[in-house]
């Protein structure tokens, strides 16, 4: 490495770590973005120094839902082969968050490489802006659906921008694509066959007309007339077992493996797992070995996590857009026994200010699940969520509104009967505030 870049790296690392500890000591936040922001302000070309420091290259994961989980699975699959990986595990997926993650990790300034792989989830809007500065070896696209229209604009605009970007790539980059999502598959149609790799679920599970798993293709009228591509890696014969995970048959050219087991729940996590396996295959990992590693992978932060609060099972589900919310409702279809629901809906910072999306959720499907005894809404938009519940024609149960999540939780757990579970569905900032609180309470 040249002298200046080593100096920049050294200063940037110091700056990031100093800002990180300072912002945490001053309780200014979690310090996941601020340090990187400062470093990028000091050294606008920092990325050109950081990017080449991964011997086997960078892998970027983008899309509306499943970024964090796909990244986590992939990191664990790659580490399982003994490779060193740098990642943004806490979901800080803006440019500043990625830079923070890189420089908080062991930097190994004296060496040419910081790690074998850099594996980062990246916000769709950030990807569009900076793809070419990352020079990824592999780009993974999970799915696209409407999410925070006040921040990102419409799907179609984003998909078209990504199409322009990948068409213009002047370096070798393979793209791993969700073949079940027509908006993602559309991106594949402009790529050479050797540069694209489709994963997906075979069979009738993925339904676009019900809006349960994917958004319809925004480029065609009825959402059905899409070009169909051969899937390079697929799952079929799926059996889901509520929160315990799923079992399925895994297929790729010439090979099929029966009864592959994962501990991550829900259909959407099968797609996340396929995305990670597909990427693992592309970097040359052995499929059988990867499958053996799969059953060690557990849910990430606030994504179907289970807590025990004074003998009560409390489950946390992150819901931040209609399709993600519908996924969780689909998962909860298998929920046994009696339960109470707590919705935590904020409209702060990372949530986006427009919460009209809660009306695009097929909440009516939630009420088909038996055993719901009570629903409480909370967060800064507790009232809006309660109205959403009221106008969705729910079955007979108590509906309570409490703008304080902690009070709502305390009172709800006070009313809960033996054997009942508490299901907490929270959007982004609600989750990041509530989860640490719950963790403390469960200690």
């Amino acid at each position: 490495m040249m002298k200046r870049s080593k100096l920049v790296l050294w200063i940037a690392t110091l700056v990031v770590r100093f800002t990180y500890y300072l912002s945490r000591a001053l309780k200014m936040g979690e310090g996941s973005n601020m340090p990187g922001k400062v470093a990028l302000w000091l050294f606008p070309d920092l990325l050109t120094i950081l990017v080449p420091r991964y011997q086997k290259g960078l892998i970027l994961i983008t899309g509306t839902n499943g970024k964090t989980t796909t990244t986590k699975i992939l990191v664990e699959l790659i580490q399982g082969f003994g490779f060193k990986v740098t990642t943004n595990a806490r979901g800080a997926n803006l440019l500043s968050g990625i830079v923070t993650s890189i420089l908080l990790d062991p930097v190994r300034i004296k060496r040419e490489y910081a790690a074998d792989y850099g594996i980062f989830e990246i916000d769709e809007a950030v990807l569009i802006k900076y793809l070419n500065r990352f020079h990824p070896r592999i780009l993974v696209i999970t799915n696209f659906s409407n999410d925070q229209l006040d921040r990102y604009g419409e799907i179609d605009t984003n998909v078209n921008r990504i199409i322009d970007l990948v068409q213009g790539l002047e370096y070798q980059c393979q793209v791993v694509l969700n073949g079940n999502d027509p908006n993602v598959a559309r991106i594949g149609s402009v790529l050479k066959p050797e540069n694209r790799f489709f994963f997906g679920i075979k069979g009738g599970f993925v339904s676009s007309d019900t809006g349960i798993l994917i958004e319809k293709d925004t480029s065609v009228e009825d959402g059905t007339a899409m070009e169909s591509f051969e899937l390079n890696l697929w799952a079929d014969s799926i059996k889901t077992d509520y929160l315990n995970g799923s079992r399925f048959r895994l297929g790729t050219s010439g090979i099929s493996l029966d009864n592959v087991e994962i501990r991550l729940p829900g259909m959407f996590n099968i797609l996340n797992t396929l995305a990670a396996l597909a990427t693992g295959l592309l970097v040359g990992n052995d499929l059988f070995q990867m499958v053996n590693l799969l059953n060690k992978v557990t849910p990430s932060y606030g994504r179907s996590e289970c807590f025990n609060y004074r003998g009560i099972s409390v489950f946390l589900f992150l819901v931040k857009n209609p399709v993600g919310f519908n996924h969780i409702i689909h998962l909860l279809n298998q929920s046994p026994g009696n339960k109470r629901l707590l919705f935590l809906i904020n409209d702060l910072g990372a949530d986006g200010k427009d919460i009209s999306w809660i009306w695009d959720v097929y909440l009516e499907n939630l009420w088909k699940i038996p055993g719901i005894k009570e629903t409480v809404t909370s967060g800064t938009r507790a009232g809006d969520m309660a109205l959403r519940v009221k106008y969705s024609n729910p079955p007979h149960f108590t509906l309570n509104v409490d703008y304080s999540p902690r009070r709502a939780f305390k009172e709800l757990t006070g009313r809960i009967q033996p054997g009942e579970e508490l299901l907490v569905l929270a959007n982004y900032t609600s989750m990041s505030k509530f989860r640490p609180y719950l963790l403390k309470k469960c200690r």
């Binding site: 799907i155 605009t157 200010k353 427009d354 024609n393 703008y403």
Partner: protein, 253 residues
């Protein structure tokens, strides 16, 4: 008692939770023993509007506007015009509102002709108006009501003398950020940029639409009051929050 609602392009104009408006009308009818029949009207349907009491147009993706405009001119415009002239209670939101004006002029490409129910013209601007909005609306003479919503539009709409605004902007941007107007009204046809969706948090407006529809169909209306504690408390908090937070008149990105 029965009312019939035509729900236009439910799958193409489905952004911003706009179906919540239809759900609100449905529940508020059901609780009063009024049967609300909802018929979806899509591309190619040549629906006779004379049997309908209410019509709803939501907001859609930018690119779907062209398709909807073509379809409406090809199969629906005469029916719709006649019904609106006859007092059909119609709500159009966001791009639906823009479609009901004379034209929409995008930054690039050719002008999109509207169906000219409203004496209104819309120009696309580079900056989107995004944020919470409160308007004051005089629905019936002497009765004013604050309407709460969220706006997210790049269109700047200017009204001519042939229609009235739906209300005056208290907080937020409104039609164009210049003249304080928001939305439009011509006979019983209403246009607005407010989503959120509009009706769940503005039950008085939902009931006003039902009153207009019942009066037109049956010559009288008698809307029993409903338990709106939740609606009113949510409104109270939102009004306080928006007025407290939003010191600036509008937020433009």
């Amino acid at each position: 008692m029965q009312l019939r609602l035509a729900y236009f392009y439910p799958s193409l104009m489905n952004l911003y939770g706009n179906r919540g408006n239809v759900q609100t009308l449905a529940l508020r009818c059901r609780r009063r023993g009024i049967e609300l029949l909802i018929q979806e009207v899509g591309i190619g349907d040549q629906t006779n509007m004379t049997g309908f009491d209410l019509a709803f147009f939501g907001g859609g993706h930018g690119k779907e506007q062209q398709k909807i405009r073509q379809d409406i001119f090809a199969t629906k415009i005469n029916n719709l015009r006649a019904a609106i002239a006859d007092g059909l209670v119609t709500l159009t939101v966001c791009s639906g509102f823009e479609l009901f004006g004379e034209y929409y002029r995008p930054l690039e490409g050719s002008v999109l002709k509207g169906i000219a129910i409203f004496d209104a013209r819309t120009e696309e601007s580079k900056k989107r108006a995004i944020g919470d909005i409160i308007i004051r609306s005089e629905l019936k003479s002497g009765v004013t009501q604050e309407l709460i919503g969220f706006e997210n539009h790049s269109g700047r709409t200017y009204l001519g003398p042939g229609c009235h605004p739906l209300g005056r902007v208290i907080r937020g941007f409104g039609n164009n950020g210049d003249d304080n107007t928001e939305g439009a009204r011509y006979l019983n046809c209403f246009g607005t940029y407010l989503h959120g969706p509009l009706l769940p948090k503005n039950p008085a407006l939902a009931d006003y639409f039902l009153e207009l529809a019942l009066e037109r169909r049956y010559g009288k209306y008698d809307l029993a009051p409903l338990d709106d504690l939740l609606e009113n408390e949510t409104r109270r908090r939102m009004l306080k929050r928006i007025k407290g937070n939003n010191l600036f008149k509008g937020r433009v990105q």
